[in-house]
Symmetry: C2
Subunit: 578 residues, 2 copies
């Protein structure tokens, strides 16, 4: 049984399995979503109209025994940036999809009328079920109910209230192994694209799935062994290592020390109180409360950086509090209280919001005078406006740039209208080069220069050095390739430093695909993805002027080190040679 | 006493007279505002930050005896489009400025803190007066009070509540000869630029002004005679002619008949009820009520297309109800009642809003379900949200595109994010080419193809013919030149058909400037302005992809003639050869 694609027409409420095109054979994850978007979506279409398409694709090795490979990519034209978007998440949902040999789900058209639907996909069938009863409800309860209705073994993906508002800050939510609505393809407003089509949930029931076809078992197994060895020996990724012990939040103290942890809407880069929301404090607290740590986002992960944060006494599990979420909802809002941060993260998950965009927009709302910085309870109350679908809620649900314009705030940290993640580009220049030049809008994962500039992975680089075009480009290309495989980007920490690990990754791809790729093929593969994405953006009207940080980063000095973003435009343009 | 420029630094609260640069000698109006913006404003700056500048410039012959020449141009980087903007208005304010030999006021920087200021300009002095007492108040009463405070002979320009919200739909308001706040440089959110700097009003007291210097009185007088002759003989512009008798609203029936009068947010192009808000009905009604018609926007106008609309019994004068305003606030909202339209126009003037943008955003709000189409009282109530500065008000004050995004509406009639005027481009293609390709965003005045396509002025053209790049280009170039002179664009109706009239226009310019321009110099002069503007927009990140109409115009057929906008992209790109 070969791989197939599921094409879902929401205008006609039809879902049909199609042959997976032969020329897509080597594509998965981001390579596949971006290729289909570029091929089938008019770059000038309205992102919430019938011409946009929403693509779901597990990675090439997802669903196999390859460790740490449970990622799913989601692609479309973004209502936030107006350009192409790929957002990905780690979730059992992706593994189930892959094991059913569904290489992609392509959702197109737009349901006419106000009804919402659930798409239920089984081995032989895809059916639509009216989902109106879930409209306006929080996803924690809804996911619990959906698992009751469809059984504990399904995978769920869906959108929440923020997406019902067509909010450009809305993400697409996947269940974690506990069934919590906590694993998000968060960025770029893809939730609104899904909701605009009248699609509320996708339920994957893999009963009877054949599993992923492995073309060459021997090569595949050898590759796994090498990768496993790398992951279990590198300090960042190994069991008991930094990520495993403290999760991504291990970075709070490190980035604060570097003066690059944005405080109070990017008005400072350091605050002693940040330590109160650090990974170290959080891990301790989770242990005390009876939460879970470490934990995996999808079965088969070696790194296990995830966790289940709960209220005191292990109650009301939220899921993981990632570094970027803690920062966005914490220090960036002047909030230094893990309980507040946890509840804000719960609200994001419940409403179907990207945590980074939400933290950014809350901080902008604070600067606009809606509530004062540091007011965690007030921030939660503000998020109720989204739940109630009030005009304020509609403003907030549309993201950082939108909120800034509505409330007359000019310090608005966005690139291509997407809110900046947890690293101030004035203190750490390379990540700023990535923010500026990735086709995705401000996105740390697109070319994580922090690895080299701060963590010393893949070499070292002075954070203040402005010559970062090579670093950012190389990382962006490598990342695009990783995002196609289904592997978590965090394997890069290990394989950037351990060549045998990278060799293993390529062997697992060859094992699945029956291909003969070498390590040397990786850059070309990644570059092709980025070229596809940049071509789409160019056709959508983007130029090198979109590859710039907002004016205030160039003019306002960031305490305590009083740096501005001084990477010359020429250096930014050297990334892609435009 | 040579011409000078007044440079106003709002950061330092300093205003200084400067020499008018010799290389600007032949520049006025739009030529001057666009040149200064292009020279002094970073195209990537935040439009509401300290780096943007706001330029006021009367035209070359403004303030002289040249008829119909009381226009003022206002320029800046637009918070609505993100590109360069020139908006102009006819007002005695401009004539006073010109007679004081102030070629331009350049407002730069940004006041720190929440205070607002009035800038009072007299012959020798410019001073700042705290204006906080006017904040939050409607402009009808405020202008009345300002005239009491500063005397009846001053000219006033200012911004209202919409601009205090930093709304991208806010305009800059100039007084008419009756002192009413009804003459707007409306488009592109320039009101917000003014308010962002902390500047609320400019008061011009021309006591002791030397008057405009005329280099060659004889040539000047000859030119005036020729122009006057053209204006008084052409059917469109002559006393008792179409504009004089019915105002611009004479177009309501004509454009409705052509199937190009957009109804209910551009969902149809014709409705029999439109006749109820026609210029003919309005003129009759004004007579009955004891309003004023005809009327001029500034002294010395021959055409006199203006009017003073009032409530029954001549009470509560509003000022002019222009065709585009009547359409925007009327048929486009499904409203066919002149009293409702009049009160909505009053609300726009009172709040400091562009009427076209407001009509567009109200229709989008109706489509988004806030109120039903046709509900005039409901629309007025909605506008109170702006007055009260509620979150809904903040959404609306930011324009059509913003309102569409907030309320999840995808039929959003904007180009470069500026709302479309009163001619559906599916029924009348040439004006669509102008909407798409002018550097200004959707703007009928930028290249008024209607003149030729509907009115048979300057030749004739089939409205359905898609070959309109030449027509639009030629009109855009001629318009840019006219916008520099200070003449009202409406003189073009006469001088396009009467060559001697155009000759007269050039002679008046030569008379004032002591130049030797010929009619053949006009296209080059206009083209230079457009090149300056397009270069700015390019540096702000615009490409030919910004020169497109929204998707729905290409796909949704417009009843009753069921046309789509089928001008090929190549034809659009032929306008500027990009």
């Amino acid at each position: 049984m070969p791989k197939k694609m599921l094409r879902v027409n929401m205008t006609k409420l039809e879902a049909k399995f199609e042959d997976f095109p032969a020329d897509f054979a080597a594509l998965g994850g981001r390579a596949l979503t971006s290729t289909i978007v570029a091929k089938e979506v008019d770059p000038l279409c309205h992102p919430l109209g019938p011409s946009n398409k929403l693509i779901f694709a597990p990675g090439i090795v997802t669903g196999t025994a390859a460790p740490t490979s449970g990622r799913i990519s989601v692609g479309a034209k973004s209502p936030l940036t107006g350009g192409i978007k790929e957002a990905n998440a780690g979730t059992p949902f992706s593994q189930k999809l892959a094991r059913m040999r569904i290489a992609a789900i392509v959702v197109e058209g737009k349901h006419i009328g106000k009804d919402y639907y659930t798409l239920k996909v089984t081995k032989d069938k895809a059916e639509f079920i009216n989902a109106n009863k879930w409209v306006g409800k929080g996803l924690y309860n809804v996911y619990k109910e959906l698992f009751k209705e469809y059984g504990n073994k399904v995978g769920i993906c869906g959108v929440g209230i923020a997406a019902e508002l067509m909010g450009a800050a809305s993400g697409i939510c996947f269940n974690d192994p506990e069934g919590l609505p906590s694993r998000y393809a968060g960025r770029g407003g893809l939730g609104a694209v899904m909701a605009s089509k009248g699609l509320k949930f996708i339920i994957i029931d893999e009963t009877g799935a054949p599993g992923v076809e492995i073309a060459n078992e021997e090569v595949f197994r050898e590759g796994i062994a090498k990768l496993r060895n790398a992951l279990t020996t590198h300090d960042v990724t190994k069991p008991g290592g930094a990520l495993n012990s403290y999760g991504t939040s291990v970075l709070v103290n490190i980035i604060n020390e570097a003066g690059g942890l944005p405080q109070r809407n990017f008005s400072a880069g350091q605050d002693d109180r940040s330590e109160k929301v650090s990974g170290e404090v959080k891990a301790e607290e989770i242990k005390k409360r009876g939460g879970v740590r470490p934990h995996f986002c999808s079965p088969g992960c070696i790194i296990q950086c995830s966790e289940v944060w709960t209220k005191a006494g292990g109650k009301d599990p939220v899921g993981v509090l990632e570094y970027e979420s803690v920062w966005a909802l914490g220090p960036n809002c002047g909030i230094y209280n893990l309980d507040d941060v946890g509840e804000l993260n719960r609200a994001c998950n419940d409403l179907g919001l990207d945590t980074i965009e939400t933290g950014d927009l809350l901080a902008v709302a604070m600067e606009g005078g809606l509530i004062e910085f540091g007011n965690g309870k007030g921030a939660l109350k503000l998020m109720e406006e989204i739940q109630k679908k009030t005009p304020t809620g509609r403003i907030l649900a549309n993201g950082t740039g939108f909120t800034g314009q509505a409330f007359g705030v000019t310090r608005v940290p966005v690139v291509k209208n997407q809110g900046l993640p947890a690293y101030d580009p004035r203190a750490i220049k390379g990540i700023g080069v990535t923010y500026a030049t990735t086709p995705m809008g401000a996105d740390h994962t697109a070319g994580y220069a922090i690895a080299t500039e701060i963590m010393g992975v893949g070499g070292t680089a002075d954070p203040r050095d402005t010559k970062k075009s090579d670093l950012s480009r190389n990382l962006q290309i490598a990342t695009a390739a990783v995002d196609a495989t289904g592997y978590c980007l965090f394997i890069a920490f290990a394989v950037l430093d351990i060549p045998e690990g990278l060799q293993g990754v390529v062997e697992t791809l060859n094992g699945v695909l029956g291909a003969n790729l070498t390590v040397n093929d990786v850059p070309g593969y990644g570059m092709q993805i980025i070229k596809t994405e940049r071509d789409f953006n160019k056709a959508a009207g983007f130029t090198e002027k979109n590859d710039r940080l907002p004016e205030f980063f160039l003019k306002e000095k960031l305490p305590p080190f009083n740096e501005v973003f001084n990477v010359p435009d020429e250096e930014l343009d050297k990334v892609w040679g435009s």
